[in-house]
Symmetry: C2
Subunit: 527 residues, 2 copies
Amino acid sequence: MHIEINRGSGRPLPLQISDTLSQRISSGLLQPGEQLPSVRKMAEMLEVCQVTVSKAYADLERRGWLIRRQGLGCFAAAPGSGAGPKPLADRQGTTGSHAAGKRGASEEQPAAAAYAGKHATRFASGRTEPEWQKDYEDYLPRAQLWRNFNFSEAEYSFHLAAIDSGMLPLKEIGAAMTSLVAKRPELMSAYGNFQGDPSLREAVRRHLRTRGIVLPQEGLLITSGTQQGIDLVARTFVGPGDTVYLEAPSYTGAIDVFAGRGADMIGVPVDKDGMRVDLLTKLCDRRPPKLIYTVPTFQNPCGATMSLERRQRLLELARSYGCLIVEDDPFSDLHFGSPPPPSIKSLDTEGHVVYMKSFSKVLAPGCRVAGVAAEGDILERLTAAKAASDLGSPLLIQLAVLPFIADRYEAYMKGLRSALKSRMARAAALLKRHAPKGVRWNIPGGGLNFWLELPDYIDTGELYSRAIREGISFLPGNVCYSGEPPAHHIRICYAQMDEAKMEQGLLKLLLLLAEAAGDFKAGEGAK
Amino acid sequence: MHIEINRGSGRPLPLQISDTLSQRISSGLLQPGEQLPSVRKMAEMLEVCQVTVSKAYADLERRGWLIRRQGLGCFAAAPGSGAGPKPLADRQGTTGSHAAGKRGASEEQPAAAAYAGKHATRFASGRTEPEWQKDYEDYLPRAQLWRNFNFSEAEYSFHLAAIDSGMLPLKEIGAAMTSLVAKRPELMSAYGNFQGDPSLREAVRRHLRTRGIVLPQEGLLITSGTQQGIDLVARTFVGPGDTVYLEAPSYTGAIDVFAGRGADMIGVPVDKDGMRVDLLTKLCDRRPPKLIYTVPTFQNPCGATMSLERRQRLLELARSYGCLIVEDDPFSDLHFGSPPPPSIKSLDTEGHVVYMKSFSKVLAPGCRVAGVAAEGDILERLTAAKAASDLGSPLLIQLAVLPFIADRYEAYMKGLRSALKSRMARAAALLKRHAPKGVRWNIPGGGLNFWLELPDYIDTGELYSRAIREGISFLPGNVCYSGEPPAHHIRICYAQMDEAKMEQGLLKLLLLLAEAAGDFKAGEGAK
């Protein structure tokens, strides 16, 4: 375990330490029941004084992440509420029971130990886990993506922002793949160009031109999905203590990646016109940005769209600070009304914006293909980083999605928008009819998610556990924040399942919500 | 540009700085002709005193990486020799001329500017490169992989350790892919498990058991090739100043990755029995290892195989220091005589070895599939890192290679070994007959490469330029070292092309070598 200390950040050291530790516990990287280093040892490791560590541990204890046991030391714990979800793997006998039994999770806290759970990746053999590994330092402060997205077992899946495979053009892409395998089998053997296949880059470039993004001939990199694009930018341009601004809430996969680089992330509030660029401007006065990450259109998770004026001001800000903006754009083609404002990239003339467009998300998510638009040195360095990451994405798959992007994308997208809009409306109708009082949401203008704000009296951690038991997954809102999060939101994707199943699942989830509300009222009545 | 300063490493700071800068220049990340920050500015950036930077610049100047221009400042330069290759893109009119004209590469040093060259990824549009990007700090100290492996233009390719597509089972894998597309199109839409498809993991686990590696049910991670495996280990367990031991020479892609993490790499010499574990043991006394990276079998690039005794001692060392060994094993199945000693992983009972086995390399390199064997916390953390990297490798491709690995691998491998052995023998015969005096090599006992030591009087940089002009690529040996390298080796792969082409290309290359020797002798005669 490596804890990044940013002395220039202005945030008190004890809080930096306690934040990192609570992130590790809530990600499942540190398990409840696991012993923490002594105050003295931790102080030595971090080269801080013992008082600082004592304060950090006191803060963790106050927040419920740490339990002191007389004469034994300090142990990681899971707070009773707001702590995030139990992983789904808890439902599976083997891994759950194994996890509960490991590392001396005490009988006094079986709930906490079960909470940690640790997924299907648990070391589940006859071997015992090697003791030395506990002391082996890692640089992985947070892993919410791993913890929250890898659920194949849920009967009703709302946790991923993904499109039901029945709506995707898998037949066309499959046909292209079959034809390539027959005609150009050497594609399976060639490493290809690190930057991506030139013909696919050209097709993507032409496509982006229709969206107002004019790129030079070579101004594109193909990545294995947008997640890899974000990761490449972070590993190349973000280092320990660098200031990264992003919306609060934001995409949890981006937060994981920036945390992994030791960045100092600062969340900027979002209103109906997107990120509060006015607040960002003031924040930048005190702490100049190294990078700004944004999902300006149908924001993930909350759905807001940044106004054109704010886009312009954001770009202006990047110009004046000489920094990069990462514009992550999974959803702009999925609008239900008039098209959203032009992308920030389309306004960019000086290479400040790295624009990321996932094609696999709307065509075939398992294919992992995204276009990353950047210029000059920025692009070159990203290409070099891509080479070191994986020597380039599989050529066959790149070329299998090409014809669809080149020829059929617009017609397909028109149909997809209309299908998604009707499905979204179905979900909205169910929400309106059945959501208990106090649950609030906006009707999304596009994209795949509803962002529900729950009343304070509903414990999302508890709700999550109940939902998982019923085979229903959603994304707990707390993982969408880089710091200590508010715990009263959940994100649900209305498009991940077919319509009938989505309706069934949503009704079940709303029933759980109503129960939680009922429990509360019953409790109120009893007082 | 970020320069990692490791104050505890014992290596003088000026040399740390000059090493990093020369690595950046030789990787093409800093171009000859490009201005370096002033001594004062660099000292401020690095928080070192100006004398340190002055010494670093003097060292660079002495080694030919820096030119001082009166009243203008210091500029990156390319040493006359031993500087590594010109990139192949120089041969293409557009990018070459563009690169030569950019950033005021002065007329006084056209060779240096042409040398920098900068590939097909050059910002080649009408836009000029944004000035602010020059000052935007990156964390990419080295990119030799990017610089040396992305050559699709060479007529005669010897630079990649790859197998001629005519020898690969593309038909079988293609058939599996076609069948999957027809029967399970949903594979194109599913994200799948971050750790890799369970059925592929099981097939790989069974396969590894036949090699003496016994893994628990879940003890495997599927990655997009071994490159990604190395990268995941580095990002998870290696941080600034951590000591990484590796063979000298070693795989350049691994060096890139560890350099990117700010590791302090220490090269351990290799003899005919592999890494000198006796020397490593002494080195560890002074600087305990965080991680040891090794290619123990038919080592890349030099071909040596580590003896069983050294494997045992290496593992013992990892146990006593509580550290990881990364065992990269691309070649153990490609033996021409009796099988090599058992893998280090097969001797490991405490999870010290992360074992990497590339399947795509021997089946279908473009498919990017490797198995990474690890246990316990180490495996979990790698899986979490994999999620943050790319949300998992494409499912369809994982399942397309599965049947071959499960059912046909051994029979195929038997044939492949014999075909490779005969091709290797052809190359060896040509070398023996035509290599000029003073060129030395060992006949490889397996694997895909010859590691040629050239006589001192042959300038490998110059040879490389000539070879590229003739359409011949090879890997210059200097990129296989983490520090300032010896410059008199080249690696050639005998298996990348079909036999006839390999023979033609090798003859041409040997002719160039003979010419270089002849030039030398003529020069000697004239003296």
